[in-house]
Point group: C2
Chain length 436, copies 2
């Protein structure tokens, strides 16, 4: 029963459904890994060991509950859980037990998932650094805000963990930790019971070590169970590289990863992988996303600003105040631009491309003391509401992982998963091909 | 200080800001009215008398806090309040004190509003009847699901009260109770901290006795403070009557109200008030809205279905099960149709019309024993995400109020408020003109 923790979620789920392995053993393997590594990685805000063990035993005895039967899952501590403390990364909510699970958490339980514990989030999913370290090098950041979820999955502490993205909080940490991160189409998964930061942007997603893992997680949390079955591509897709505005900041490592992804995609693309650019009108999306996020944060955190002002970090307090200073007229203009941008992107997809390859992050994970990294290359895609997947394609000059971001048209999640799998299979490094 | 409770929210807010009346006196007048009528109307799930009085005294002494300074406001018991029990109309949440206010509630407090108490909601905002009665006739329903908010405002217990609409839970009770109900454009107000039923549809709004009242409430809850200033119409708008699919069920009372609204709108419309129809492709919106709502309910209430199955009413439990039985493929098809429908409506507005007049409800408030009334004429507009206002325009054969629904293009909330005011001013009955 050794090394059960290294099974991917999809592999483990299949074995659990066939009763080839026990939920209890898988759970113990994960807990053992946590025991060995948590003092360095610091991925967990809390563990639900007793409840998880009791649940695993019950699942081993009872009928198969659903797609996640017996799978231990980490829940970002921005998601409400009725049986584990939920702090949203803030001392304001220390020892808070919500009355209800977030909708996505309830659906995980309903499908037989075992809530292993809560993973560390930055304070209210902001850019404030958390204590979690990058499993590949403890002086580097795992990224934020889903710091603990990305690190836990990368470090084999859990096969799956939930995340949320408002700027770049799934794709960026997945890139830094060298795993698969999946932000589905905006609205695909209910945000109810996940601490709200910016309703126009907040998107629920998941981390896993393979494409099929993240497909499984989103299938359950959305109710779109067919997603779990990642099918082969029917037709050769039109693939293009899109150097997101800000490309001048991309490190040589990131540029190399894009080149490698392009090269690999040539094997399954329709024709050559082309280069496209965002329409000129959309070059301000990064700034628009930033203003919308700050403006909405100032309302979303109004309660905390009023009642617990002194328990907010300076960073979050100043973001709220910045947001409150943005005129509503500007905010409304930005929202209108976002609507226009979504239409223009839809036209771009209709006419020119099925799959976009874009950078996930500027480069390798920066040193922890420098922050959680810049979400520059994620902001536009979050604002556009498009489904995005980070795939680990190479490593950088420090030996840390470098991912690329794959993007499809709104609602084309099933296709995106298939395309990401095709790209993973085409990677030159056999170890990285295991992501397929 | 008599009759302060009969001041509209806007009038009272002006007098409070000028210190012409005291918040404490207004609050006492409302509490007095509640004392006299609550045993019949049953609008309140809980009252926060002590806290409200302390807050009123503090506001009378302190600086002007914002647009709602000193105004007592009822909060639908679907909204989280940290200092008042929040039951969502369900015994599952009896005596539950959330840790945080809903975002909209926090913004009301920030603007100087006084949380007077929680108003009765039907169980999880469903169609299950509540105990609240119609202030105009206690054997009739006030409508649902915002039963208590509509009844409290109609009965002068509070000048403003919050509501939410997933099918027809603002417009219908406003029509039945003879007040102004305003459901702004979808997404205008954050739903965070309001019990989620169907994220694609859930919309926060407000009840008042005048157009300026509801403008004030939504201005504060959205952050769009300019909305509070309801300006005169700049240009004559193109006005059309749109007999929503299902018109054959409209009672003679409702048909008469539409005729009266048409007649009144002729005074400010550009040319004759025309008749338009929904494009033929959109005649199924009612059915689409119903399926989307049920499908999403089955996920949104998965926690309650799993953990507290026996504390759910048969009606809600069966709705969840109905929703769970809808194939995701069908749901996805319905979502796609909704997106197409929103585009087609935008074209209709661009080309033909600025203001739509449509029925709010089938007729007068039915008898309470018959349920909370049919949301038939609201479902399509909720699905389309358009801003809607109910205006009271006449009374029916039992002497109960009959409203009409005014609808504008997405995001045209400011215009809708101005147009609703123009229509109110043009009504033949001078008492109803007071809604302007």
């Amino acid at each position: 029963m050794k090394d059960l923790e290294s099974l991917s979620a999809f592999q483990a789920a299949k074995k659990l459904a066939k009763r080839e392995i026990k939920a209890t053993d898988l759970l113990l393997a994960c807990l053992d890994q946590i025991g060995q590594r948590e003092n360095i990685v610091k991925a967990w805000a809390s563990l639900g060991k007793e409840n998880a063990l009791a649940r695993a035993k019950a699942l081993d005895k009872g009928a198969i509950k659903g797609l996640l039967h017996g799978l231990p899952i980490g829940i970002k501590d921005l998601f409400d859980t009725h049986d584990l403390p939920t702090s949203y990364g803030s001392p304001i909510y220390a020892n808070y037990y919500p009355r209800t699970d977030a909708v996505s958490v309830a659906l995980i339980r309903q499908a037989g998932g075992i809530i292993l514990g809560k993973t560390v989030t930055t304070e209210f999913a902001s850019f404030k650094s958390s204590s979690t370290t990058n499993p590949h090098h403890s002086e580097h950041t795992p990224g934020g805000s889903s710091s603990g979820s990305a690190a836990a999955v990368a470090d084999f502490m859990a096969p799956l963990a939930t995340g949320s993205q408002t700027a770049g909080s799934i794709i960026r940490p997945a890139s830094f930790c060298g795993i698969v991160g999946y932000k589905p189409s905006f609205g695909k998964i209910s945000v109810a019971g996940v601490k709200s930061l910016a309703p126009t942007l907040d998107t629920i997603g998941i981390f896993g070590r393979c494409i099929e893992d993240v497909a499984l997680g989103v299938a359950v949390m959305s109710g779109d169970h067919e997603l779990a079955n990642v099918v082969d591509l029917h037709n050769k897709p039109r693939v293009a590289v899109l150097k997101t505005p800000g490309w001048q900041y991309a490190s040589p490592d990131t540029r190399g990863a894009i080149a490698l992804a392009r090269f690999s995609a040539e094997t399954f693309a329709k024709g050559k992988v082309s280069d496209i650019d965002l329409p000129a009108e959309l070059h301000q999306l990064t700034q628009i996303q930033t203003r919308i996020m700050l403006s909405e944060m100032s309302r979303s955190l109004a309660f905390e600003r009023m009642q617990y002002s002194k328990k907010l970090s300076n960073l979050v307090a100043s973001q709220i105040d910045q947001g409150a200073a943005i005129e509503y007229k500007q905010y409304k203009l930005d929202l209108d631009q976002a609507i226009t941008a979504r239409k223009m992107m839809q036209n771009l997809f209709d006419e020119n491309v099925d799959l976009i390859i874009a950078p996930s992050a500027i480069g390798e994970a920066p040193l922890a003391k420098e922050g959680t990294g810049d979400p520059l290359f994620c902001r536009s895609w979050t604002l556009l509401g498009l489904p995005c997947i980070n795939l680990n394609v190479s490593s950088g000059h420090n030996g840390l992982p470098i991912g690329v971001q794959l993007i499809a048209a709104y609602g084309k999640d099933q296709f995106l998963l298939s395309a990401a799998r095709a790209l993973a299979l085409a990677l030159p490094d056999p170890v990285l091909r295991d992501q397929a």
